[in-house]
């Protein structure tokens, strides 16, 4: 056992300092697709997207719904003058509307500061429960990664709890398949107020690929009210951490009011 302790100490500190210090993804990492030029589009653009995330609004304006986007890059390859992949981690948003290609990252440093304070104001004791409602399995890996030494979300006061009755935050992955609908509703019902629901992954945000098949509800917000959306297929651990920190805002607001 002593050898294991030595081995642990030998590694040194590898943990990220996020959200105090920004974490930058490796070159070429695709965290979100953004619209570079949104006017004068042709209807053929909408055909590019396998999940129907690209739509045309009035006056041929392109709208990219990041909640539906699975980051496959088909649009970037076909129309590089209009779409570009951005190498960012922070993609979560408090409303579904904000995912319609809103620009959030301008005020990111300020937001990061508030996020850290919010977690602290909850006395660093936020209990998290997860339920899988039809993910592809990768979201679970990325959520589990939050408790590994690289991300160590316990330093911010997030703990995993086995019972929904102790939970403050519910993480939901997957587009909600028929057999998982009742278990999801029951889990949410027994959680005490105030509580926040975080949809992890594009499947959970909108159904993405599976929305049209008739096997899923097409997103968690078709079943329960969602407080934070974390799009991505799957979102990286830092993106999920960002979403969890946004959820603390939901909780603090609920306590104040």
């Amino acid at each position: 056992m002593l050898e294991w302790i030595q081995r642990g100490l030998w590694q040194g500190r590898i943990t990220t300092r996020y959200p105090r210090v920004a974490e930058s993804p490796p070159n070429g990492y695709c965290g979100r697709i953004e619209v570079r030029q949104d006017s004068g589009a042709s209807p053929a653009l909408a055909e590019l997207c396998p999940t129907g995330a690209i739509t045309l609004a009035e006056r041929d304006r392109v709208i990219l719904d990041r909640g539906r986007c699975i980051l496959c890059g088909e649009c970037v390859r076909a129309a590089p003058e209009r779409f570009a992949a951005r190498s960012v981690y922070e993609t979560a948003a408090r409303t579904r509307g904000a995912l319609l290609d809103g620009s959030l990252e301008e005020e990111l440093p300020a937001i990061r500061r508030t996020l850290g304070q919010q977690a602290a104001s909850l006395r660093r004791s936020i209990h998290v429960r997860h339920i899988d409602c039809g993910s592809d399995g990768s979201e679970e890996w990325e959520i589990q990664a939050l408790w590994n030494p690289y991300y160590d979300i316990q330093r911010l006061g997030f703990f995993l709890t086995a019972a929904p009755r102790h939970a403050d935050v519910l993480l939901v992955s997957g587009a909600v398949t028929a057999p998982m609908r009742a278990p999801l509703e029951r889990t949410w019902d027994v959680m005490p107020d105030p509580k926040a629901l975080v949809a992890i992954g594009s499947e959970a945000c909108s159904g993405a690929l599976t929305a049209s098949g008739g096997h899923t509800a097409g997103g968690v917000d078709q079943v329960l009210p969602v407080d934070v959306y974390v799009p991505g297929s799957p979102p990286a651990p830092i993106a999920i951490m960002h979403g969890l920190l946004l959820a603390t805002g939901v909780l603090t607001e609920a306590i104040v009011t």
Binding site: R7, L71, S135, G137, S138, T177, P179, P183, L209, H215
Partner: protein, 494 residues
């Protein structure tokens, strides 16, 4: 390398049905629906391994059976004429491996014909369990689909008197998303995005199996450089999955430093993939015809990362297998007898842990593996420790393959993508050895678009064995045994 198995397969002389042309090593035979059972029995007697039964549309509606026999993929095709009912439900009586695939086929194609909603395999109801064990003090635990911790949705119905587990029943299909049907009507380049998301933790395996099926159906050969890249991504994926299993085993014994060590190594593999492909799961690179791009990282640097990783892994393995509190829980737990694994058609590290040398990379070498030598790691014990040891062995084998492939990639340049013929039709199988075991996909193409797809996933096939993994174990061994299987419900449910 695999010459001997091919010769041996010729010794099998089937008497039922007529041979049909098919791309080797596929061996297609046409039978009548009534003869299918007899033909399958003949294959079982020849010691074939059951893979799947499913419905195909190309070239005509037919009931298909797929079997692995000494380096060959034997395919029985029984054309269905008009309103003829799907004849099925007999194989499972004498071939346990066929039970779940047959039941799935029946339920999906004749909805409403089976009552008892709780007994349905493909539409499980979390509250209807169907107890079977009766007796004083016997109680039943429905474990799942909402489970403590971060796990995928699946239910285990455990009937126990407190310690022993007289009956355990696995209930998959809580997360069936219709991924096979989702692919139909898409072009192969777009459908591969769906394939990658069938089982997210094995994205590269699913993308490769799908791409190889399309390539074989259309008679396209991807360039060797593309096949090397596919092998690189496949082995990185295997490493990530195996390290995940080992980290979870350490977590279950509360060996927290050990858990952290293997999580660190897994995260390093994920980051290496992110630097090579722009995605932590290696998605978006493998496409039918080859790969989209070269790795976006300096290969010398990638080798340096692998060198560091291997040094750390050697030390961590030595400590892991030398920690008695760890090995005591694993040795003897979840014992699977070799004949049982054979009956159920088990594949992957699970089968190799029970002494069966089943590995798609060796049985029917594809892509880069036809050029590389592969050491198939097997263990005889058949317990959780054996399965973990197989994974440790494979981690080092993966590192060896990675070095070899990266060395080739660094020295020579070459094409990455072969164009697919426009508007072509065809149908074929594609297969890879996914981290969970042999993955087989049947893909049909009509006028350049994907038609019907069938996925025989390693997770579903291996999970049938979980019900039988508790011969002498108690309830508290559950987590060790489950992790040692290392399966993914997303892949099983599709």
């Amino acid at each position: 390398m695999s010459v001997a198995p091919h010769k041996a397969a010729n010794a099998f002389a089937p008497t039922i049905g007529t041979p049909e042309p098919g791309p080797p090593p596929e061996r297609r035979r046409r039978v009548t629906p009534l003869d299918l059972e007899q033909a399958a029995l003949e294959l079982k007697n020849a010691r074939a391994r059951f893979i799947s039964v499913f419905l195909a549309d190309t070239p005509e509606p037919a009931l298909m059976g797929a079997f692995a026999l000494r380096g060959e993929l034997v395919v029985l095709r029984a054309p269905l004429r008009g309103e003829e009912p799907v004849l099925c439900g007999e194989l499972g009586d004498w071939w346990p491996a066929a039970r779940w695939p047959e039941q799935e086929l029946l339920e999906r194609n004749t909805p409403g014909s089976l009552d008892e909603a709780g007994a349905l395999l493909t539409a499980p109801d979390a509250d209807r369990l169907g107890r079977q064990v009766r007796g004083l003090d016997v109680f039943s635990i429905p474990y799942g689909p909402v489970r403590s911790g971060i796990f995928e949705a699946i239910q285990f119905h455990i009937e126990t008197g407190g310690e022993d587990v007289p009956r355990l029943h696995t209930r998959p299909f809580f997360k069936h998303r219709g991924m096979e049907a989702r692919m139909s009507g898409l072009s192969p380049q777009v459908a591969v995005h769906v394939a990658e998301r069938v089982a997210g933790i094995a994205s590269s395996a699913y993308a490769s199996a799908f791409s190889q099926a399309v390539e074989r159906a259309l008679g396209v050969n991807p360039p060797p450089r593309a096949e090397r890249w596919r092998a690189v991504y496949a082995e990185l994926e295997r490493m990530a999955c195996h390290l995940d299993v080992i980290a979870k085993e350490a977590e279950t014994t509360a060996l927290y430093v050990g858990q952290a060590r293997f999580q660190i190594l897994k995260e390093q593999v994920m980051r290496l993939r992110a630097r090579l492909t722009g995605n932590r799961f290696g998605r978006g690179v493998i496409v039918p015809g080859g790969v989209r791009q070269d790795g976006t990282m300096d290969l010398d640097e990638a080798t340096a990362v692998l060198d560091r990783l291997e040094r750390a892994l050697r030390r961590d393995r030595r400590m892991f297998v030398g920690t008695a509190s760890m090995t005591d829980r694993l040795i003897g737990a979840g014992w699977l007898e070799r004949t049982l694994v054979e009956e159920f058609g088990g594949v992957g590290p699970l089968a190799r842990g029970s002494g069966l040398s089943i590995d798609a990379r060796h049985e029917r070498p594809y892509g880069e593996y036809a050029r590389l030598g592969l050491r198939v790691i097997t263990e005889r014990a058949g317990d959780a420790m054996a399965r973990v040891n197989v994974r440790f062995g494979e981690l080092f084998e993966s590192l060896r393959i990675l070095r070899q492939a990266i060395d080739h990639l660094r020295r020579r340049d070459g094409e990455l993508l072969t164009a697919l013929p426009e508007g072509a039709s065809g149908a074929a199988f594609g297969w890879v050895e996914a981290p969970q075991g042999e993955l087989i996909m049947w893909v049909e193409l009509r006028d350049g678009l994907i038609g019907r797809v069938h996925i025989a996933s390693p997770s579903l096939r291996n999970w049938a064995l979980f019900d039988h993994a508790f011969p002498k174990d108690v309830l508290t061994d559950f987590a060790f045994i489950e992790h040692s299987f290392g399966l993914t419900p997303a892949g099983a449910d599709r």
